[in-house]
């Protein structure tokens, strides 16, 4: 009998209360060591703009991560301003970051040490203009030149 089937049989043969307790325990297991928390703290406080994502800005490996990078791109944030961490390369970071921010999904964007949001929030802030204001205020995106004076009417 294969290992997986054996495991399943064990699971089924246990009283359901016990199974539910042990799965709860797994779900609540803490991944974030004090050391990892310090590393994340350090990353978000020493870089003005941090993105925890799947893949890299050059090669995102998830549509939501790609969207976040595209939004920052459209906002005119220079690539060198973005400090990105690839959560697919680091399993501890992948789980730890979720616990750090108490946010269940990746990507996650931090500006000046503050958690801003994931893809949905970045997108809605982008649409409302809130993101542009924030990026300019923090000096992460160039301020657009004021609108050209209304074009002279041609005779």
């Amino acid at each position: 009998m294969s290992f997986a089937r054996l495991g399943l049989r064990t699971l089924r043969s246990l009283p359901s209360a016990q199974v539910s307790r042990s799965t709860n325990f797994l779900a609540q297991r803490r991944y974030l060591s004090a050391e990892a928390r310090k590393l994340i703290d350090n990353a978000v406080s020493t870089n003005p703009l941090v993105v925890f994502m799947k893949g890299t800005p050059e090669a995102p490996q998830c549509g939501f991560s790609r969207a976040v990078c595209q939004i920052l791109d459209v906002q005119g944030v220079p690539r060198e301003q973005i400090k990105s961490y690839n959560c697919l390369e680091d399993q501890e970071l992948r789980e730890g970051i979720k616990e750090y921010s108490e946010w269940p999904t990746i990507p996650q964007v931090y500006i000046k040490g503050e958690f801003v949001g994931g893809c949905d929030i970045l997108l809605s802030m982008h649409q409302s203009g809130e993101l542009e204001n924030l990026l300019i205020k923090e000096g992460l995106a160039p301020e657009l030149p004021p609108d050209e004076p209304a074009a002279e009417t041609k005779a």
Partner: protein, 92 residues
């Protein structure tokens, strides 16, 4: 463990949880996984979102659905007040 919970699709479990914790005017789950059921996009309209920033609204939803989201691959949400929802429908 509630036996009924075990057989319900995760989508239904999430909807029930939201309804029990929030006043819901409208909720819609869209399965964005291509049928494997591990990825959802949800629109939630609730008066409870009034006077909350988007981040706070999402955190509220994340908290209510913490167990379910942990099992999903992707979860995207849109959280609106009834007023915002009416405006959005007006635009469409």
């Amino acid at each position: 463990m509630d036996v009924d919970d075990a057989v319900l699709p995760i989508q239904q479990v999430m909807e029930n949880k939201l309804r029990s914790k929030l006043k819901i005017d409208f909720v819609e789950f869209i399965d964005t996984s291509g049928n494997c059921g591990s990825s959802f996009s949800v629109t939630i309209v609730s008066p409870d979102f009034a006077k909350k920033m988007t981040l706070a609204r999402h955190k509220l939803v994340n908290q209510i659905l913490a167990d379910e989201i942990a099992e999903l691959h992707a979860f995207s949400q849109k959280t609106l007040t009834p007023e915002q929802w009416a405006k959005e429908k007006g635009k469409a």
